[in-house]
Amino acid sequence: MAELRYAFYTGCSAKGVAPELYNSTKLVAEKLGMELIELEAATCCGAGAVQEKDEFLALTINARNLALAEELGLDLLTICNTCTVMLRETKFKLDNDPELKNAVNEVLKEAGLEYKGNSEVTHFLWELIDGVGLEKIKEMVVRPLKEFKIAPFYGCHIIRPPYLIGYEDPDNPKSIEMLIEVLGGSPTDHEAKLACCGFHSFWSAEDKVTLKLTAMDAESAKKEKADFMVTPCPLCHTQLDAMQPEAEERIGTQIGMPILHLPQMIGLAIGFKPDELGLNKHIVSTAEIVQKVA
């Protein structure tokens, strides 16, 4: 088997508000034969916020994050869509502009670092498919999710913009559906599959935009009678799960759509207990799912 070692970039969410993502990623990765070497010196990616105040600083900070993976000689693996796009944006800009790369490296030199550009930025979802492989995952399934209708929620930054992401067609992605199918589940083709959760305008347009989108997304999965939604992004998860009560209040309708992190869904099918995967840490009750898999 190919060597599946990665420089593991956790991002802030998995260390802050979504510890169940961090834990379930580690459990699932280990069982699937992936070795994750955590970048304990990595910083926040800036999440687009720092980028809109001081772009050069944001690029330099992220060049440092990439340099940390280069030190290990490994590709950098993320578990957050926004981290993915921010790090890939940095790489795109530095790799296509030698002057900018020099300017960044002059700064990094102060800290004894250099950005070379030889580590790729990849996401856990992509490595499940390209690294571990669907056949292997299928072999590992001990508890097929056959009675579940599952609504994939990609989250913007794992498909768009194609000039930075380019993993699959942003208009017709298939990766999450492919995973759901090898786990024995049935993916739904709901309207909000490629939509936005609203997270990034929360502090400026909570009522005007964010919560409306959140509600539309969760309702769209409910309309297709999905048992739960699954997302590869902790920001989408926070928005759709932790903020679902606010979204319900905003539109005056009960939704109650459980939202699972991608590794939690894999974990259920390959034999982990719901509590080990942190399903008890969700805001929207996952009791029905837990009952079914028991």
Binding site: A49, E52, V107, D130, P161, D169, D171, W203, K281
Partner: protein, 352 residues
């Protein structure tokens, strides 16, 4: 000959109570664009089909529609490509999204024009042209900053698929904000403040959800999303204290002082102690479920090698660097690990 189905959104408010779809069967012809297919259906099967078009060469922006759910110019994409892309025998054509349909694929443009008027989408000179009869001059970097934004043909594909606009029709939308950037960032323009005030009215500029749909849809590589961000950078430089600006400051300080974000203290820093109080139900919910680390309330976790970040921060702040805009036309993001199998990856963009 191979056939495909052209499924068209039909609606005539003088006759129909509700819109409906009508399907036409057509032969698959090599090189046929979706616009050409619409013509063929109209000429040979149903003269009542209505749609807008003009140049047929992706220059005028008249024929923007949604094809299988995503906005683009009907004249820019080929039938065979769409059939392959969606692995289907049916092409569904809808009017662009977020607008009021008038008849079939024709929509009400007044709403978009009214939005554009708010930002005065024309050049307002800072000073009269040079007296020696020469033209206004601009240095190459100043021109570069507005180069891509100037390519907008107002086709409104970006407005169609905008997530923020889907939630709230009062949002200016990417086409309007990108156009505002094109003039506000022009070194010869004298109405920067007026334009920034217009886009920040009701904090409109910050309703953008960063979904990057607009840039993905744009058939002219205008990069509307990137222009929105550049407009926000301009607003920050001009000293506007918006929630977005406060948010950016919190992130910057957290990176400097601990490396990663302190999500526990974020609401308080963002909205002050009283603002944070209204978030109490949310905070309590998160604590009860064990989703947040209580230690973060008192500073909490720091990354390793934080001193590197502090050195970098100081040095980066001293530097003035002219960052070039990304050249995205025809870019395929190339992964160096060629051995990797790419899942169903057939193309680079939504509109190619």
């Amino acid at each position: 000959m191979e056939k495909f189905k052209l499924r068209i959104f039909r609606y005539d408010p003088t006759k129909d109570t509700d819109p409906y779809y009508k399907t036409y069967e057509l032969p698959v012809e090599k090189g046929m664009t979706v616009l050409a297919a619409l013509f063929k259906a109209k000429e040979e099967q149903d003269p009542s089909i209505s749609f807008r078009y003009n140049c047929r060469a992706a220059i005028c922006g008249s024929c923007a529609v949604r094809i299988n759910g995503h906005a683009t110019l009907a004249c820019k994409v080929q039938v065979t490509h769409i059939l392959q892309k969606y692995e289907t025998d049916t092409i569904t054509v809808d009017p662009i999204g977020n607008v009021r349909p008038l008849k079939d694929l024709i929509y009400d443009m007044d709403w978009l024009i009214d939005k554009l008027k708010r930002i005065k989408p024309w050049f307002i000179p800072k000073e009269p042209p040079p007296s020696d009869g020469t033209e206004y001059r601009q240095d190459p970097y100043d021109h570069h900053r507005i180069d891509f934004a100037s390519d907008c043909i107002l086709c409104a594909s970006c407005m169609s698929d905008c997530n923020a606009l889907k939630a709230n029709k009062d949002y200016h939308g990417p086409m309007v904000l990108s156009k505002a950037y094109r003039f506000a960032a022009d070194s010869r323009d004298g109405a920067k403040e007026e334009r920034l005030n217009a886009v920040l009215d009701n904090l409109n500029l910050e309703w953008c959800v960063r979904c990057w749909e607009c840039t993905t849809r744009c058939p002219k590589e205008v990069q509307p999303f990137e222009n929105i961000i550049r407009l926000r950078i301009m607003a920050a430089e001009e000293g506007y204290k918006t929630p977005g600006e406060i948010h950016a400051e919190i992130f910057e300080k957290d990176i400097l002082n601990r490396g990663i974000l302190n999500e526990m203290l974020l609401p308080m820093k963002q909205e002050g102690i009283f603002g944070a109080l209204k978030r109490a139900p949310f905070g309590i919910r998160m604590m009860v479920k064990g989703k947040v680390n209580f230690a973060d309330f008192f500073g909490g976790h720091k990354i390793k090698r934080l001193e590197e970040v502090q050195k970098i921060y100081e040095k980066a702040k001293e530097k003035e660097v002219k960052i070039k805009l990304p050249q995205i036309m025809g870019v395929v993001y190339e992964d160096k690990r060629k051995t990797r199998k790419r899942a169903n990856f057939t193309e680079t963009g939504g509109n190619k």
